[in-house]
């Protein structure tokens, strides 16, 4: 059967009212979960798992798909408006998006994020529909050596977010790398930096660090300043939520580039959604004609990463559906759901349960449309969030953050960790250290270390594995070129000027 015909049949099923209602519900819950810091789609789907004993399979998977995509949409909202990303994939959005909001362009930032998410989500879903087998085969070529090289490339890209002082940025990055190493070492089982606490054995929960550093830290900083209650004219938003002609012109290319960075990396077994947002941000900063605006609210810096994280979300589903390999927390939970229906995702799923899979894919298209329709009008509503008086707004943020963390672990230790990171976030802002490199270090550190050691175990300690494997060597070359070329070009320019 042709993929297209099968997809049409999927649409026919997914558009039945009894199935559509699940999709709509999923999108709604997903958006809500995305907006609330601290709880993500993985947790929400896990909580809904018991329902799989009771509800029909088609409805459940359509619901899960809605939650999954919805959370990706919703995550950008608080990042942009309040500088409080709820999870690591939206940290890059906060960097530029909040600056836009502070300059009264929050509406435009939310709009470019929503439309970019829609476009990239659709591109990702199309690719998922028609190109899965090829992309997955290519992604399988990535072994530990390639991942390590990719991390090196990412570390080069970090230079884009180091902020005004390279020294401070690097300190922030190193601190992040150090925090990332805490917990049981995967390769040897040895506890590191745990201070004898059982809670530390699994390392620092990413959500706690992100919410603490941004949400709590930001609130603490504003309380310290004491200006927020008198800010009436400051970072007031214009009610305008639509994009100007210029915004469109500056957004569409980042959307597409973001999608093409996000999708392949998302489909890699250890790719994730954070890496593409960072690489997309770096690309946009490099290519932009408005470099001076970066760090002060450049729309490209919101459009690209937002598109990248949604495309990555579609990418993650590819190895799950075609190979039965979960590559993210959410995918792992969805896999469990498949299992509780007695289904095993993988190559045989398409032939044995074709109807279900194509309905799921069709519902991703539909979910994207529902989310766009749901989110564009919401933009106006979200923007009004900022009119809430400061004491209530920040009291609310702290209560939500604490509820999210406490609800996920019910442990006082995690709350202390959350507020500890809040204090660190405050200190960083107070002393003008950028926070984004710390988060990136926290993500990249463990990935880079583990893939380095996996690669070396495989190569029997031979460091040349990174340059003798063609793919790995190619990635390293790109990284070196990106690091060296700008300097070379500047040097050439200067020489030319001197000669003249």
């Amino acid at each position: 059967m042709d993929a297209f015909d099968a997809l049409m049949q999927g649409f026919a099923t997914a558009l039945q009212p009894s199935v559509l209602i699940y999709g709509f519900l999923g999108c709604l819950v997903g958006t809500m979960v995305g907006v609330l810091p601290g709880i993500g789609p993985a947790l929400t789907i896990a909580l809904l798992l018991p329902l799989t004993f009771k509800a029909p399979a088609v409805g459940m998977f359509v619901l899960f798909a809605g939650i999954y995509y919805g959370a990706m949409y919703g995550g950008s909202t608080t990042s942009i408006l309040l500088n409080t990303p709820g999870e690591s994939a939206t940290v890059m959005t906060a960097v530029e998006g909040n600056q836009m909001a502070r300059r009264g362009r929050g509406g435009a930032a939310l709009a470019t994020a929503a439309i970019g998410s829609f476009i990239a989500g659709t591109i990702g879903t199309v690719a998922l529909t028609f190109f899965s087998p090829w992309v997955v085969e290519a992604a399988l070529k990535f072994g530990p050596a390639e991942y390590f090289s990719l991390m090196v490339l990412a570390l080069v890209a970090v230079t884009a977010v180091l902020g005004s002082s390279v020294l401070r940025g690097l300190i922030s990055l190193c601190a992040g790398l150090l925090f990332g190493l805490a917990g049981i070492d995967l390769q040897t089982g040895q506890p590191r930096f745990t201070f004898g606490q059982a809670e530390m054995l699994d390392g620092i929960e990413m959500t706690i660090a992100v919410v603490g550093l941004f949400a709590v830290g930001e609130a603490m900083f504003l309380a310290w300043q004491g200006r927020e209650t008198r800010r009436h004219e400051l970072h007031r938003l214009s009610g305008k939520v639509s994009l100007t002609k210029d915004d469109w012109k500056r957004s569409w290319k980042p959307w597409l580039r973001g999608a093409f960075i996000g999708f392949p990396i998302g489909s890699m077994p250890a790719g994730g959604a954070e890496l593409p947002t960072l690489l997309s941000y770096y690309t946009e900063k490099r290519l932009s004609k408005h470099k001076e605006e970066f760090g002060k609210g450049a729309i490209e810096g919101v459009a690209g990463p937002e598109a990248a994280n949604n495309a990555a979300a579609a990418g993650v589903l590819m190895p799950l559906l075609t190979l039965g390999i979960p590559t993210s927390a959410t995918a792992a939970v969805i896999l469990t759901a498949f299992e509780s229906y007695g289904l095993r995702p993988g190559p045989t799923l398409f032939t044995e349960q074709g109807g279900l899979v194509w309905t799921l894919i069709a519902s991703l298209y539909i979910g994207n449309v529902i989310l766009l329709i749901l989110n564009l009008p919401l933009v106006g509503l979200w923007v009004r969030l900022l009119r809430i008086p400061a004491p209530w707004l920040y009291a609310g943020i702290i209560v939500i953050s604490a509820a999210g963390v406490y609800g996920a672990s019910k442990s006082a230790f995690d709350l202390l960790l959350l507020f500890g990171f809040g204090l660190l976030g405050f200190a960083f802002r107070r002393f003008d250290f950028p926070v984004a490199p710390l988060i990136i270090g926290l993500i990249l550190g463990p990935m880079a270390e583990q893939s380095l050691r996996q690669a070396l175990t495989i190569s029997m300690g031979n460091y040349s594995t990174f340059v003798t494997r063609p793919l790995s060597a190619a990635i390293l070359c790109i990284a070196v070129a990106l690091l060296v070329l700008p300097a070379l070009l500047r040097w050439r320019d200067r020489r030319r000027r001197l000669i003249k």
Binding site: V29, S88, L186, L323, P326, G342
Partner: protein, 326 residues
């Protein structure tokens, strides 16, 4: 699973938002227990959680229990949750915890003060044998080749599996020892979760892979991996792969799961819980779950189970010592 390593969620069986969708099972007669507090020392959505939910469905379906209250405390192979269960549920006759062989190893490698000896064994329910696979695209395609390669230099045979010191790693250690090598020389490549490990194996990044059979089942059926040996005492029904014993390697290992009661419960409470689990095991709902999820039924209640645990602890300690982890 990296981002969601630790989570502790007590979920109502149906969240409020979707409560309308869940029809209640009708109880036949009075249930044995009104409420069972089910403690899962792992995040929602994992293997132990799945076992616990299946128990819930079967017990409620058979009208044995009115309601289940779930509590998930994930992290460190159960070592974050176990102490909490021991402290909070001491002497309570309506509390159950799901656990298994992973916990035995985790307690040893983490030098946890609280171990499985501190809870009351009720019954072993399921087990899953390990399987050794190679990518079909790789050079090594038979057990003889793999065994020969390991014998000549274990460091050159990279093997992918779950985290260091876990059941997969232990099995590799046992095999190397049985083949006359030093388990410390294992070129074990630990991956976080089954997904990345699967990808590394079928991508041909490593020579071989070790994990539970269900972890690789799909790839084996699809012909991307070739199963060389299984670690159970018998072949897996319907799977034409020899056991290690048949291949002349004196190694058996299986990843078992069971249920435990709180410490300090009296004999009556213990007997009642054992009766509950025994009746749950006999129910149609449980048989259905076993079949659907392809779990191997190794039901063993009471003293027999307690003896098995003691044996399991001693064996695991020995392996981990050989690996240099205990």
């Amino acid at each position: 699973m990296q981002k969601h390593r630790r989570s502790f969620v007590k979920a109502a069986a149906a969240s409020g938002l979707l409560a309308g969708l869940s029809p209640r099972a009708f109880a036949q007669g009075a249930p044995m227990f009104d409420t069972i507090n089910m403690f899962v020392p792992a995040a929602a959505g994992g293997g132990w959680d799945g076992t616990a939910r299946a128990i819930e469905a079967a017990a409620k379906g058979a009208g044995l229990v009115g309601t289940f209250q779930f509590e998930n405390v994930g992290g460190a192979g159960g070592m974050v949750g176990l102490p909490r269960f021991v402290n909070q549920r001491k002497g309570q006759g309506n509390a159950l915890m799901v656990g298994g062989s992973v916990m035995v190893g985790a307690a040893i490698t983490n030098k946890s003060p609280v171990t499985m000896r501190d809870v009351t064994p009720i019954a072993r329910l399921t087990e899953e044998a390990g399987v050794i696979v190679v990518p079909t695209s790789g050079k090594v395609q038979s057990w003889q080749d793999l065994a020969a390669a390991i014998k000549s230099n274990p460091k050159a045979v990279s093997v992918a599996g779950g985290s260091a010191g876990g059941t997969d790693h232990q099995l590799l250690g046992l095999i190397i020892k049985a083949l006359g090598g030093n388990p410390k020389d294992a070129a074990y490549v630990a991956f976080a979760g089954g997904g990345p490990a699967n990808a590394a194996i079928i991508g041909g990044q490593v020579v071989a892979g070790i994990s539970g059979y269900s972890e690789f089942q799909e790839q084996i059926t699809a012909g991307r991996m070739k199963a060389l040996a299984v670690s159970g005492t018998k072949r897996i029904p319907g799977v034409n792969v020899p056991t290690l014993l048949e291949l002349g390697v004196n190694v058996t290992a299986a990843n078992w799961r069971g249920v435990f009661a709180a410490p300090g419960v009296n004999a009556d409470q213990r007997a009642k819980l054992e009766a509950l689990v025994t009746r749950m095991h006999a129910s149609a709902g449980w048989k259905d779950a076993l079949q659907k999820r392809k779990w191997t039924d190794v039901f063993l209640a009471g003293e027999g189970f307690a003896k098995e645990i003691a044996k399991s602890i001693a064996e695991t300690e020995a392996v981990l010592k050989d690996l240099g982890l205990a």
